[in-house]
Point group: C2
Chain length 245, copies 2
Protein backbone atom coordinates (compact mmCIF):
# COMPACT_ATOMS: atom_id res chain seq x y z
CA UNK A 1 0.00 0.00 0.00
CA UNK A 2 1.31 3.45 -0.84
CA UNK A 3 -0.02 7.00 -0.67
CA UNK A 4 0.13 9.12 -3.82
CA UNK A 5 -0.13 12.91 -3.97
CA UNK A 6 -1.67 14.68 -6.96
CA UNK A 7 -1.40 18.36 -7.87
CA UNK A 8 -4.66 19.19 -9.63
CA UNK A 9 -5.58 22.15 -11.87
CA UNK A 10 -9.18 22.80 -12.82
CA UNK A 11 -11.58 25.23 -14.37
CA UNK A 12 -14.32 25.48 -11.76
CA UNK A 13 -16.92 26.95 -14.15
CA UNK A 14 -18.77 23.67 -14.70
CA UNK A 15 -18.04 21.98 -11.36
CA UNK A 16 -20.10 22.19 -8.16
CA UNK A 17 -16.91 22.84 -6.24
CA UNK A 18 -14.39 20.33 -4.98
CA UNK A 19 -16.31 18.32 -2.44
CA UNK A 20 -18.50 15.26 -3.15
CA UNK A 21 -22.21 16.07 -3.37
CA UNK A 22 -24.83 13.50 -4.25
CA UNK A 23 -25.83 13.68 -7.91
CA UNK A 24 -23.54 16.62 -8.68
CA UNK A 25 -20.40 16.88 -10.74
CA UNK A 26 -17.50 17.93 -8.51
CA UNK A 27 -13.71 17.83 -8.86
CA UNK A 28 -13.55 15.15 -6.16
CA UNK A 29 -16.14 12.95 -7.88
CA UNK A 30 -14.31 13.20 -11.20
CA UNK A 31 -10.98 12.29 -9.58
CA UNK A 32 -12.51 9.32 -7.72
CA UNK A 33 -14.11 8.09 -10.92
CA UNK A 34 -10.95 8.43 -13.02
CA UNK A 35 -8.79 6.74 -10.36
CA UNK A 36 -11.26 3.94 -9.66
CA UNK A 37 -11.55 3.28 -13.40
CA UNK A 38 -7.79 3.25 -13.84
CA UNK A 39 -7.00 1.07 -10.83
CA UNK A 40 -10.12 -1.15 -10.65
CA UNK A 41 -10.23 -0.30 -6.93
CA UNK A 42 -12.68 1.93 -5.08
CA UNK A 43 -10.58 5.07 -4.61
CA UNK A 44 -11.62 8.04 -2.46
CA UNK A 45 -9.22 10.98 -2.59
CA UNK A 46 -8.56 13.33 0.32
CA UNK A 47 -8.43 16.94 -0.86
CA UNK A 48 -6.43 19.84 0.55
CA UNK A 49 -8.61 22.86 -0.22
CA UNK A 50 -12.34 22.28 -0.65
CA UNK A 51 -12.94 25.10 -3.09
CA UNK A 52 -16.48 26.36 -3.73
CA UNK A 53 -18.57 26.02 -6.84
CA UNK A 54 -17.10 28.13 -9.67
CA UNK A 55 -13.68 28.65 -8.05
CA UNK A 56 -10.64 27.66 -10.13
CA UNK A 57 -7.30 26.12 -9.16
CA UNK A 58 -3.86 25.77 -10.68
CA UNK A 59 -2.52 23.57 -7.90
CA UNK A 60 -4.98 22.03 -5.47
CA UNK A 61 -3.70 18.86 -3.80
CA UNK A 62 -5.23 15.42 -3.27
CA UNK A 63 -3.90 12.15 -1.89
CA UNK A 64 -5.11 8.56 -2.18
CA UNK A 65 -3.95 5.09 -1.17
CA UNK A 66 -3.47 2.24 -3.58
CA UNK A 67 -1.91 -1.21 -3.93
CA UNK A 68 -1.13 -0.50 -7.57
CA UNK A 69 2.40 -0.97 -8.88
CA UNK A 70 2.10 2.12 -11.09
CA UNK A 71 4.98 4.42 -10.02
CA UNK A 72 3.73 7.58 -8.27
CA UNK A 73 5.03 9.95 -10.93
CA UNK A 74 3.20 8.12 -13.74
CA UNK A 75 -0.29 8.85 -12.42
CA UNK A 76 -0.38 12.33 -13.93
CA UNK A 77 -0.12 10.92 -17.48
CA UNK A 78 -2.52 8.02 -16.90
CA UNK A 79 -5.18 10.17 -15.19
CA UNK A 80 -5.06 12.97 -17.75
CA UNK A 81 -6.14 10.41 -20.36
CA UNK A 82 -9.28 9.72 -18.34
CA UNK A 83 -10.21 13.08 -16.86
CA UNK A 84 -12.52 15.59 -18.58
CA UNK A 85 -10.65 18.52 -20.13
CA UNK A 86 -11.54 20.98 -17.36
CA UNK A 87 -9.43 18.96 -14.87
CA UNK A 88 -5.73 18.20 -15.40
CA UNK A 89 -3.16 16.65 -13.09
CA UNK A 90 -0.01 18.80 -13.00
CA UNK A 91 2.22 16.32 -11.16
CA UNK A 92 2.02 13.17 -9.08
CA UNK A 93 4.38 11.42 -6.69
CA UNK A 94 4.48 8.96 -3.83
CA UNK A 95 4.28 10.62 -0.43
CA UNK A 96 4.52 9.55 3.24
CA UNK A 97 1.73 7.07 4.18
CA UNK A 98 0.59 9.37 7.01
CA UNK A 99 0.63 12.62 5.01
CA UNK A 100 -2.80 14.29 5.26
CA UNK A 101 -3.07 17.51 3.22
CA UNK A 102 -5.48 19.18 5.65
CA UNK A 103 -3.67 18.17 8.86
CA UNK A 104 -0.35 19.86 8.27
CA UNK A 105 1.01 23.37 8.08
CA UNK A 106 0.71 24.96 4.69
CA UNK A 107 0.87 28.26 2.89
CA UNK A 108 -1.82 28.91 0.30
CA UNK A 109 -1.97 31.66 -2.28
CA UNK A 110 -5.19 32.81 -3.92
CA UNK A 111 -5.65 35.30 -6.72
CA UNK A 112 -8.82 37.33 -7.21
CA UNK A 113 -9.16 38.96 -10.65
CA UNK A 114 -11.38 41.93 -11.44
CA UNK A 115 -11.97 43.18 -14.97
CA UNK A 116 -12.46 46.92 -14.59
CA UNK A 117 -13.57 48.65 -17.79
CA UNK A 118 -16.68 50.00 -19.46
CA UNK A 119 -17.96 46.73 -20.96
CA UNK A 120 -17.35 43.04 -20.17
CA UNK A 121 -14.96 41.02 -22.35
CA UNK A 122 -16.48 37.63 -23.18
CA UNK A 123 -13.08 35.89 -23.22
CA UNK A 124 -12.46 36.95 -19.60
CA UNK A 125 -15.92 36.29 -18.19
CA UNK A 126 -15.14 32.88 -16.69
CA UNK A 127 -11.95 33.92 -14.88
CA UNK A 128 -12.49 37.50 -13.70
CA UNK A 129 -15.30 39.40 -12.01
CA UNK A 130 -16.42 42.31 -14.15
CA UNK A 131 -17.31 45.75 -12.82
CA UNK A 132 -17.60 49.05 -14.70
CA UNK A 133 -17.35 51.02 -11.43
CA UNK A 134 -13.87 52.61 -11.56
CA UNK A 135 -11.65 51.18 -8.82
CA UNK A 136 -8.70 53.07 -7.36
CA UNK A 137 -5.88 50.54 -6.94
CA UNK A 138 -3.96 52.81 -4.55
CA UNK A 139 -6.93 52.94 -2.16
CA UNK A 140 -7.34 49.16 -2.40
CA UNK A 141 -3.66 48.77 -1.47
CA UNK A 142 -4.00 51.03 1.55
CA UNK A 143 -7.04 49.08 2.73
CA UNK A 144 -5.22 45.78 2.17
CA UNK A 145 -2.33 46.76 4.44
CA UNK A 146 -4.61 46.64 7.50
CA UNK A 147 -5.32 42.94 6.92
CA UNK A 148 -1.75 41.68 6.75
CA UNK A 149 -0.55 39.77 9.84
CA UNK A 150 -2.32 37.70 12.47
CA UNK A 151 -5.89 38.88 13.11
CA UNK A 152 -9.27 37.61 14.14
CA UNK A 153 -10.98 37.50 10.73
CA UNK A 154 -14.50 36.80 12.08
CA UNK A 155 -15.79 39.77 10.02
CA UNK A 156 -14.44 38.08 6.89
CA UNK A 157 -16.04 34.68 7.49
CA UNK A 158 -19.40 33.55 6.12
CA UNK A 159 -21.94 32.90 8.85
CA UNK A 160 -22.29 29.26 7.81
CA UNK A 161 -18.69 28.49 8.83
CA UNK A 162 -18.06 25.97 11.57
CA UNK A 163 -14.44 27.02 12.23
CA UNK A 164 -13.49 26.82 15.91
CA UNK A 165 -11.10 29.75 15.79
CA UNK A 166 -11.39 32.68 13.40
CA UNK A 167 -7.79 33.81 13.95
CA UNK A 168 -5.67 33.49 10.81
CA UNK A 169 -2.37 34.88 9.50
CA UNK A 170 -2.07 36.69 6.19
CA UNK A 171 1.56 36.75 5.08
CA UNK A 172 1.00 39.08 2.15
CA UNK A 173 -1.88 40.81 0.38
CA UNK A 174 -1.07 42.71 -2.81
CA UNK A 175 -3.18 44.60 -5.34
CA UNK A 176 -1.73 45.02 -8.85
CA UNK A 177 -3.02 46.48 -12.09
CA UNK A 178 -2.49 44.37 -15.24
CA UNK A 179 -3.94 46.32 -18.16
CA UNK A 180 -7.66 46.58 -17.45
CA UNK A 181 -7.53 43.85 -14.80
CA UNK A 182 -6.91 44.30 -11.09
CA UNK A 183 -5.29 41.31 -9.41
CA UNK A 184 -5.57 40.79 -5.66
CA UNK A 185 -3.10 38.17 -4.43
CA UNK A 186 -3.29 36.88 -0.88
CA UNK A 187 -0.99 34.39 0.81
CA UNK A 188 -1.83 32.91 4.20
CA UNK A 189 -1.62 29.97 6.55
CA UNK A 190 -5.24 29.15 5.89
CA UNK A 191 -8.50 30.87 5.15
CA UNK A 192 -11.96 30.88 6.68
CA UNK A 193 -15.04 30.04 4.65
CA UNK A 194 -15.39 32.66 1.84
CA UNK A 195 -12.63 34.74 3.48
CA UNK A 196 -10.77 35.62 0.27
CA UNK A 197 -13.99 36.52 -1.56
CA UNK A 198 -15.13 38.74 1.33
CA UNK A 199 -11.71 40.43 1.41
CA UNK A 200 -12.03 41.02 -2.36
CA UNK A 201 -15.55 42.41 -1.96
CA UNK A 202 -14.43 44.73 0.84
CA UNK A 203 -11.31 45.94 -1.01
CA UNK A 204 -13.52 46.75 -4.02
CA UNK A 205 -15.64 48.97 -1.76
CA UNK A 206 -12.45 50.76 -0.69
CA UNK A 207 -11.46 51.07 -4.37
CA UNK A 208 -14.80 52.55 -5.44
CA UNK A 209 -14.72 55.09 -2.60
CA UNK A 210 -17.80 53.74 -0.82
CA UNK A 211 -15.59 52.85 2.19
CA UNK A 212 -12.40 54.53 3.46
CA UNK A 213 -9.21 52.40 3.46
CA UNK A 214 -8.60 53.20 7.16
CA UNK A 215 -12.03 51.80 8.05
CA UNK A 216 -10.62 48.30 7.63
CA UNK A 217 -9.32 48.50 11.19
CA UNK A 218 -12.85 48.94 12.52
CA UNK A 219 -14.11 46.15 10.24
CA UNK A 220 -11.61 43.72 11.77
CA UNK A 221 -12.42 44.90 15.31
CA UNK A 222 -16.17 44.44 14.80
CA UNK A 223 -15.70 40.63 14.50
CA UNK A 224 -19.03 40.60 12.71
CA UNK A 225 -19.69 39.51 9.13
CA UNK A 226 -22.06 42.45 8.70
CA UNK A 227 -19.18 44.92 9.08
CA UNK A 228 -17.34 43.77 5.94
CA UNK A 229 -18.32 44.11 2.28
CA UNK A 230 -20.11 41.59 0.06
CA UNK A 231 -18.76 38.17 -0.90
CA UNK A 232 -17.26 38.71 -4.37
CA UNK A 233 -18.42 36.20 -7.04
CA UNK A 234 -16.64 32.84 -7.30
CA UNK A 235 -15.51 33.15 -10.94
CA UNK A 236 -12.80 35.70 -10.06
CA UNK A 237 -11.08 33.38 -7.58
CA UNK A 238 -8.22 30.97 -8.38
CA UNK A 239 -6.04 28.93 -6.02
CA UNK A 240 -2.58 29.65 -7.48
CA UNK A 241 -0.12 28.38 -4.87
CA UNK A 242 0.08 25.59 -2.30
CA UNK A 243 3.11 24.88 -0.17
CA UNK A 244 3.43 22.34 2.65
CA UNK A 245 5.80 23.54 5.35
Amino acid sequence: MKRVMLVVAYDGSACHGWQLQPGKRTVESELNQALSGLLKEDIQVIGASRTDSGVHALCNVAVFDTDSRIPGEKFSYALNQRLPEDIRIQSSRETAPDFHPRHCNSRKTYEYRILNREFPLPTKRLYAYFTYVPLDVEKMRRAAEFLVGEHDFASFCSASSSARSTVRTIYSLTVEKEGDEIVIQVCGSGFLYNMVRIIAGTLMEAGSGSRRPEDMKAVLEAKNRGAAGPTAPACGLTLVGYEFL
Copy 2:
Protein backbone atom coordinates in the same frame (compact mmCIF):
# COMPACT_ATOMS: atom_id res chain seq x y z
CA MET B 1 -32.08 56.05 -42.29
CA LYS B 2 -28.66 55.90 -40.67
CA ARG B 3 -25.77 53.42 -40.60
CA VAL B 4 -24.47 52.35 -37.20
CA MET B 5 -21.09 50.71 -36.56
CA LEU B 6 -20.61 48.20 -33.74
CA VAL B 7 -17.33 46.99 -32.25
CA VAL B 8 -18.00 43.43 -31.13
CA ALA B 9 -16.06 41.17 -28.71
CA TYR B 10 -16.85 37.48 -28.47
CA ASP B 11 -15.73 34.16 -27.11
CA GLY B 12 -15.85 31.94 -30.20
CA SER B 13 -15.86 28.66 -28.22
CA ALA B 14 -19.60 28.05 -28.57
CA CYS B 15 -20.20 29.83 -31.90
CA HIS B 16 -19.99 28.34 -35.38
CA GLY B 17 -17.94 31.32 -36.45
CA TRP B 18 -19.14 34.75 -37.51
CA GLN B 19 -21.08 34.07 -40.69
CA LEU B 20 -24.76 33.06 -40.92
CA GLN B 21 -25.29 29.33 -41.39
CA PRO B 22 -28.72 27.72 -41.49
CA GLY B 23 -29.66 26.21 -38.14
CA LYS B 24 -26.36 27.13 -36.46
CA ARG B 25 -25.54 29.62 -33.76
CA THR B 26 -23.14 32.22 -35.14
CA VAL B 27 -22.07 35.69 -34.00
CA GLU B 28 -23.89 37.21 -36.96
CA SER B 29 -27.14 35.36 -36.20
CA GLU B 30 -27.01 36.48 -32.56
CA LEU B 31 -26.42 40.12 -33.56
CA ASN B 32 -29.25 40.04 -36.11
CA GLN B 33 -31.60 38.54 -33.55
CA ALA B 34 -30.70 41.03 -30.79
CA LEU B 35 -30.97 44.02 -33.15
CA SER B 36 -34.21 42.85 -34.77
CA GLY B 37 -35.72 42.29 -31.32
CA LEU B 38 -34.61 45.71 -30.09
CA LEU B 39 -35.70 47.67 -33.16
CA LYS B 40 -38.72 45.60 -34.32
CA GLU B 41 -37.20 45.75 -37.83
CA ASP B 42 -35.55 42.96 -39.81
CA ILE B 43 -31.87 43.82 -39.34
CA GLN B 44 -29.00 42.13 -41.19
CA VAL B 45 -25.56 43.25 -40.11
CA ILE B 46 -22.54 43.43 -42.44
CA GLY B 47 -19.44 42.07 -40.73
CA ALA B 48 -15.81 43.06 -41.23
CA SER B 49 -13.91 39.86 -40.48
CA ARG B 50 -15.76 36.56 -40.96
CA THR B 51 -13.89 34.62 -38.32
CA ASP B 52 -14.00 30.82 -38.27
CA SER B 53 -15.68 28.55 -35.76
CA GLY B 54 -13.86 28.73 -32.40
CA VAL B 55 -11.92 31.93 -33.16
CA HIS B 56 -12.29 34.78 -30.64
CA ALA B 57 -12.40 38.55 -31.10
CA LEU B 58 -11.92 41.62 -28.95
CA CYS B 59 -12.92 44.06 -31.68
CA ASN B 60 -14.61 42.72 -34.78
CA VAL B 61 -16.75 45.28 -36.60
CA ALA B 62 -20.30 45.20 -37.95
CA VAL B 63 -22.57 47.82 -39.47
CA PHE B 64 -26.34 47.96 -40.00
CA ASP B 65 -28.94 50.44 -41.24
CA THR B 66 -31.92 51.56 -39.24
CA ASP B 67 -34.66 54.18 -39.09
CA SER B 68 -34.51 54.11 -35.29
CA ARG B 69 -34.09 57.34 -33.33
CA ILE B 70 -31.81 55.62 -30.80
CA PRO B 71 -28.53 57.59 -30.89
CA GLY B 72 -25.65 55.57 -32.37
CA GLU B 73 -23.62 55.52 -29.17
CA LYS B 74 -26.51 54.07 -27.14
CA PHE B 75 -26.70 50.78 -29.05
CA SER B 76 -23.84 49.22 -27.07
CA TYR B 77 -25.83 49.45 -23.82
CA ALA B 78 -29.15 48.37 -25.33
CA LEU B 79 -27.69 45.40 -27.21
CA ASN B 80 -25.61 44.11 -24.29
CA GLN B 81 -28.89 43.66 -22.39
CA ARG B 82 -30.12 41.32 -25.11
CA LEU B 83 -27.00 39.46 -26.23
CA PRO B 84 -25.81 36.18 -24.70
CA GLU B 85 -22.84 36.60 -22.36
CA ASP B 86 -20.28 35.30 -24.86
CA ILE B 87 -20.91 38.34 -27.11
CA ARG B 88 -20.51 41.95 -25.93
CA ILE B 89 -20.59 45.21 -27.84
CA GLN B 90 -17.57 47.35 -26.93
CA SER B 91 -18.72 50.56 -28.60
CA SER B 92 -21.24 51.84 -31.13
CA ARG B 93 -21.56 55.01 -33.19
CA GLU B 94 -23.19 56.40 -36.30
CA THR B 95 -20.98 56.13 -39.39
CA ALA B 96 -21.11 57.28 -43.03
CA PRO B 97 -24.09 55.74 -44.90
CA ASP B 98 -21.75 54.27 -47.53
CA PHE B 99 -19.18 52.82 -45.11
CA HIS B 100 -18.72 49.09 -45.82
CA PRO B 101 -16.29 47.38 -43.44
CA ARG B 102 -15.01 44.91 -46.05
CA HIS B 103 -14.64 47.40 -48.91
CA CYS B 104 -12.13 49.78 -47.39
CA ASN B 105 -8.51 49.74 -46.38
CA SER B 106 -7.87 48.39 -42.94
CA ARG B 107 -5.17 47.09 -40.67
CA LYS B 108 -6.03 43.98 -38.65
CA THR B 109 -4.08 42.47 -35.78
CA TYR B 110 -4.43 38.84 -34.72
CA GLU B 111 -2.89 37.11 -31.74
CA TYR B 112 -2.16 33.39 -31.64
CA ARG B 113 -1.51 31.98 -28.16
CA ILE B 114 0.34 28.75 -27.42
CA LEU B 115 0.54 27.23 -23.94
CA ASN B 116 3.90 25.48 -23.86
CA ARG B 117 4.46 23.36 -20.75
CA GLU B 118 4.32 19.76 -19.62
CA PHE B 119 0.56 19.55 -18.94
CA PRO B 120 -2.46 21.56 -20.10
CA LEU B 121 -3.99 24.18 -17.79
CA PRO B 122 -7.79 23.89 -17.83
CA THR B 123 -8.29 27.64 -17.31
CA LYS B 124 -6.35 28.36 -20.52
CA ARG B 125 -7.76 25.62 -22.71
CA LEU B 126 -10.34 27.78 -24.49
CA TYR B 127 -7.97 30.62 -25.41
CA ALA B 128 -4.60 29.01 -26.14
CA TYR B 129 -3.40 25.98 -28.08
CA PHE B 130 -1.54 23.57 -25.82
CA THR B 131 1.62 21.71 -26.78
CA TYR B 132 4.15 19.97 -24.54
CA VAL B 133 6.75 19.97 -27.34
CA PRO B 134 9.31 22.59 -26.23
CA LEU B 135 9.31 25.55 -28.62
CA ASP B 136 12.34 27.80 -29.11
CA VAL B 137 11.02 31.36 -29.29
CA GLU B 138 14.23 32.67 -30.86
CA LYS B 139 13.90 30.24 -33.77
CA MET B 140 10.24 31.19 -34.19
CA ARG B 141 11.27 34.86 -34.38
CA ARG B 142 13.90 34.17 -37.01
CA ALA B 143 11.35 32.26 -39.08
CA ALA B 144 8.79 35.04 -38.63
CA GLU B 145 11.12 37.68 -40.08
CA PHE B 146 10.93 36.07 -43.54
CA LEU B 147 7.18 36.66 -43.68
CA VAL B 148 7.15 40.38 -42.93
CA GLY B 149 6.43 42.63 -45.94
CA GLU B 150 4.52 42.14 -49.19
CA HIS B 151 4.57 38.53 -50.39
CA ASP B 152 2.52 36.02 -52.29
CA PHE B 153 1.14 33.99 -49.39
CA ALA B 154 -0.36 31.18 -51.55
CA SER B 155 1.51 28.62 -49.39
CA PHE B 156 -0.29 30.02 -46.32
CA CYS B 157 -3.79 29.86 -47.75
CA SER B 158 -6.24 26.98 -47.33
CA ALA B 159 -7.06 25.26 -50.59
CA SER B 160 -10.75 26.11 -50.22
CA SER B 161 -10.07 29.84 -50.53
CA SER B 162 -11.60 31.75 -53.43
CA ALA B 163 -9.32 34.81 -53.13
CA ARG B 164 -8.41 36.32 -56.52
CA SER B 165 -4.95 37.41 -55.44
CA THR B 166 -2.85 35.73 -52.77
CA VAL B 167 -0.52 38.72 -52.35
CA ARG B 168 -0.82 40.34 -48.93
CA THR B 169 1.27 42.66 -46.75
CA ILE B 170 2.31 41.81 -43.21
CA TYR B 171 3.34 44.97 -41.36
CA SER B 172 4.66 43.19 -38.30
CA LEU B 173 4.94 39.64 -36.97
CA THR B 174 6.27 39.23 -33.42
CA VAL B 175 6.77 36.24 -31.14
CA GLU B 176 6.88 36.92 -27.40
CA LYS B 177 7.11 34.71 -24.32
CA GLU B 178 4.67 35.49 -21.47
CA GLY B 179 5.35 33.04 -18.67
CA ASP B 180 4.55 29.61 -20.12
CA GLU B 181 2.65 31.10 -23.05
CA ILE B 182 4.04 32.06 -26.44
CA VAL B 183 2.19 34.88 -28.17
CA ILE B 184 2.43 35.37 -31.93
CA GLN B 185 1.08 38.76 -32.98
CA VAL B 186 0.58 39.58 -36.63
CA CYS B 187 -0.59 42.84 -38.14
CA GLY B 188 -1.50 43.10 -41.81
CA SER B 189 -3.64 44.70 -44.49
CA GLY B 190 -5.72 41.57 -44.74
CA PHE B 191 -5.34 37.83 -44.46
CA LEU B 192 -6.15 34.87 -46.69
CA TYR B 193 -8.35 32.02 -45.48
CA ASN B 194 -6.66 30.34 -42.47
CA MET B 195 -3.49 32.37 -43.14
CA VAL B 196 -2.77 33.29 -39.52
CA ARG B 197 -3.38 29.74 -38.30
CA ILE B 198 -1.10 28.31 -41.02
CA ILE B 199 1.59 30.87 -40.12
CA ALA B 200 1.23 29.81 -36.45
CA GLY B 201 1.44 26.11 -37.37
CA THR B 202 4.55 26.73 -39.50
CA LEU B 203 6.28 28.89 -36.87
CA MET B 204 5.65 26.12 -34.32
CA GLU B 205 7.51 23.70 -36.61
CA ALA B 206 10.41 26.15 -36.68
CA GLY B 207 10.23 26.40 -32.88
CA SER B 208 10.27 22.65 -32.35
CA GLY B 209 13.23 22.22 -34.69
CA SER B 210 11.37 20.15 -37.26
CA ARG B 211 11.91 22.93 -39.82
CA ARG B 212 14.78 25.46 -40.11
CA PRO B 213 13.86 29.16 -39.77
CA GLU B 214 15.57 30.00 -43.07
CA ASP B 215 13.38 27.47 -44.89
CA MET B 216 10.52 29.97 -44.69
CA LYS B 217 11.88 31.62 -47.82
CA ALA B 218 11.43 28.40 -49.80
CA VAL B 219 7.97 27.89 -48.28
CA LEU B 220 6.88 31.31 -49.60
CA GLU B 221 8.44 30.65 -53.02
CA ALA B 222 6.68 27.29 -53.37
CA LYS B 223 3.27 29.05 -53.56
CA ASN B 224 1.80 25.74 -52.57
CA ARG B 225 -0.21 24.99 -49.42
CA GLY B 226 1.65 21.67 -49.05
CA ALA B 227 4.94 23.49 -48.44
CA ALA B 228 3.80 25.15 -45.17
CA GLY B 229 3.01 23.60 -41.79
CA PRO B 230 -0.37 22.51 -40.42
CA THR B 231 -3.29 24.86 -39.71
CA ALA B 232 -3.04 25.53 -35.96
CA PRO B 233 -6.31 24.98 -34.01
CA ALA B 234 -8.86 27.79 -33.90
CA CYS B 235 -8.99 28.20 -30.09
CA GLY B 236 -5.57 29.91 -29.98
CA LEU B 237 -6.62 32.69 -32.34
CA THR B 238 -8.07 36.07 -31.34
CA LEU B 239 -8.72 39.16 -33.45
CA VAL B 240 -7.25 41.86 -31.19
CA GLY B 241 -7.04 44.97 -33.36
CA TYR B 242 -9.01 46.55 -36.23
CA GLU B 243 -8.21 49.93 -37.74
CA PHE B 244 -9.83 51.54 -40.77
CA LEU B 245 -7.36 53.69 -42.69
